[in-house]
Structures are given as C-alpha cells and as structure tokens.
Symmetry: C2
Amino acid sequence: MESHKPEDPVVELLTTYNELNSSRIEELDEEPSPLEFMRYVARNTPFVVRRSAQDWTATRTWNAAYLCSTLAGHKVNVAVTPFGNADAPTPDGQGHTIFAKPHEEDQDFGQFLQYLSKRPKEGVKYDMRKRVEKSIAFARIALERDPDAINMWIGNSRSVTALHRDNYENIYVQAAGRKHFVLLPPLFQPCVNEQDLEPATYVRARSVGQARGEEEEGLVLRMDETVDDEASKVPFATWDPDTPEVRATPYSHLAEPMRVSLEPGDMLYLPAMW
Amino acid sequence: MESHKPEDPVVELLTTYNELNSSRIEELDEEPSPLEFMRYVARNTPFVVRRSAQDWTATRTWNAAYLCSTLAGHKVNVAVTPFGNADAPTPDGQGHTIFAKPHEEDQDFGQFLQYLSKRPKEGVKYDMRKRVEKSIAFARIALERDPDAINMWIGNSRSVTALHRDNYENIYVQAAGRKHFVLLPPLFQPCVNEQDLEPATYVRARSVGQARGEEEEGLVLRMDETVDDEASKVPFATWDPDTPEVRATPYSHLAEPMRVSLEPGDMLYLPAMW
C-alpha cells in the first residue's frame, strides 16, 4: 500500500479550483435575461457582454468636451493622490506598509477635467443617477432592487486601483477609453496577504502639521488620528497580482487571475467579493 | 481603551449567521417562477410550498393498495437494516463508531410492502421516472436540465435517515404520510463532528463469515474488506441534532437547525450541501 503524504488542504482547494474553472472570462453576445443573469449570480461568476452598451447615450456622446459643457458648474468629489494610488497599501518610507486614503475635495467639474489632462493622476466618483439609465433591467428584475449607487469613474492611463473587494454586485459599463481588470475569486483570499494596515490620508501640504515626508503635487501622507489603534486598522490585501513576487504568501503563486480588458460599450458583471 | 479578547472566529461566524438568518423555513403559497427559484438557489436557502402538489396524481391516488396493484411484479431495490439506520454512524459494540451500510436486495414490490407493514424498519429507493411528472418546470428551466434522478422513498413511522448532505439540488414532494426534516446550513459543518468511519455492511446472517455480533432480523454487520483502509474510510457526520449531547464538538451547541414537517402535497426545496 502506498502511503500518501497529506497535502496542505488550502493548496488542494486552490489547485482543484484551478483545474475545474477557467481563468478566461465568459463572453456573452447579448445581455442575459434576468434568469440567465441570476444563474451567474448563483455561481458567483463574472461575465462580459461585448458592445452591449454601444448604443447608450453615454457611450455615443460622452467625451471630455461634452462632459465639460454638460457638467460645467457641477461640483464633483475628487480623490486626489500623488501616484494615482487611492485606497492603496503604500510604503511609509520607514519599512512599513500603511493604508493610504486619498485627499478628497469637491472641485468644479470643468476644473477637474482640466486638472486631469495636465496632471494625469486623479480619479473622480460622481453620482450619475440623473444622467444615465436608472437601472439595468436584467439586474433590477433578477435582484429585485434598483442600484444602491450609480457612479461614474474617470481616470486616465496612469490611474490604478489597488486589489480590493466590495460587498456589492456590480455592473460596470465602459463609456469611453479602456480599462484592464485583474480579477480574483473570493476563494483566493489566502493568496492576497491581507494585513491590518494603519490608515493615513493625503492632505494638502499647507494644512499639514506632522507630515511623513513631502510628495509631489503638494500632497503629504498624514497618519489618521485614531482613538483605538487596533480597531481602526484597515484589513487590506497587500499582494498585487501584477508584481507577484512582492509581499507574496505561500499560496500566492497558485492564484490564476482572470484578466479582461473593456472597450467602449462593453459591460462587465463583477460579482460581490471578487 | 477597552481591550477586546479576540473570539474564536468560528464561534463569531456561526453566531453572526444565527443573528442574520432565521431558523424558520420560508413558506410560499405557490410554486416560484424559475427566476424566483434561482434567487433561492443563489442564496442556498430552502423553502417549502404548502399543498403545491396536492393535485398531483401521486398525492391524490397513491396508497399501499394502489401501489401494490400498480407495481405488482416490479422488482424494487430495498435497503434493509435492523434499526432503520441505513448509511448511518453506528456503534460497533466495541467502543467505536462505524459506517453501517444497508443490506440491499431486490424484492418484488408487493412482497416489500407486506414486509414493511409487518416489520416496520425498511426503506426503498425506486426509480420513478416513468411514474410521475418527468420534471418540475421551475427547476428545469432555472437549472437548465432535467433531474439527474427521480426517486421514490417509502418508509414508515420508524424510518430515520442519519444527518448527511448531498451534492444535489433536491425537490422533495410528500405524496403520502408525513416526514420531519431537520436541516442545517453547510456553514455548520464544524458542529457535526465529521469523522472518517470504517465502512461495514449488513448481510443476511446465513451468508456471513466473520460477524460482529448477531442482530435481530437475521442481519449482522460485517466490516467491508478494503484494499486501503485509510482511503476507503467514509467521512461522515457523527453528531445528531436530536441527541445534541452525544458526540458533540465545541461548536455543536451553536447549531440552530431548521425544522420542517411535510404533509401530503407539500414540496420542499432542499439545497445542495444542506
């Protein structure tokens, strides 16, 4: 009789998952029905519908000039960071990794767009509830609710979002430009090296008391003042699938990310917790 | 500052689950649509539809006499055990718990029914594909497939099924009599004291070589002959929610089973892995 060395069950789980599941995203030719969508929700599996939103007003008409004239005078909430790294694990220059939150400020939309084209390192979140489709029918019917939020995200070629997960089912539509997603299933949590990070926030240098080193753009990172250091720490993934050697766990090499690039009009179902 | 003792994360998980989820089963007045059903599948949540199958031919017409005349001469596969404990963890009389599999034999249906009414300790599994509805529409449409199996189970007031789980979505319809389910969500796996049990099978005493003690009905339990003892062990729950003090784990007291009794015509959705 052969004796089998019992393998680490986490290794076995992740390896089996990889064997049974493709890291290629499923591509649909047209929007799913509510029932078809619900099958994806039940399986917690992403899909992309190519060119599904190509006839949306947003896809057809939005560009910098159009948005500028339409939203002129509107205030938008802008997340400002020196390196485009909003809500991201960031070295503090002293050998630690901290959780860097952006400087948030309200800007006039026109001012923001000008700023973005000159200094290519910012993002924006704007409630689009009045500007776009109020809901996506297949998702509204399947999930029996209107969207909790409809947000527009504007970035440029240097905008990067750190590996993170949200507790929301998300339908992402690319209106203009291109975005590259790197997706990991919730199961691969052991690969992402989640750590409890001390929170810090970028602030305009002129308003800073204790600064942890000057950055460009006049932004410096200031540790948050917290009542309870342990309770206020932010649990966050510190491993990055695009620099897999850095801050890896013994399981990181088993992660097979799903990569998908969206072109204008493409729609992505990004399941909760991916 | 208060310091919080970190709680066992499994305790926290199970406690939180209990806070957020009722142990009362959801009751529907009528069959769900495929989409409504898919929402339950996505949430991995059971429901019962009261009297949904009251007009089924089975519910209206099946009783011992009817089945006897209809199925007379048909062979059925009968699971025979001395205590009604098919596929159940069973004391071996020497301080160990083993996995007792039933004696299986083909019987004439009429003979089986007579046997059942006299010696109330048997069960039967019979492929009903040709005798009942070929599928249940809402489930066939939602899951995009016909049933893998359509089985009829016949027992009596002393038939008991051990706590177990199946990797199938199951629609259970009560045609006659009454059945009491005790259901646990998959999350409560730490409560059920799963152990690797050595398999044994009931055999008619006359055909037994090494017997581990005589039982009534001429059935004795014989350890299976296996090539690889470790590989052939059966992982099985040994805790019973109806005798919660016996073979409990440190988490068993946190299990809040969902109990539901089915009357004739009631339909139960029993999700995979519950």
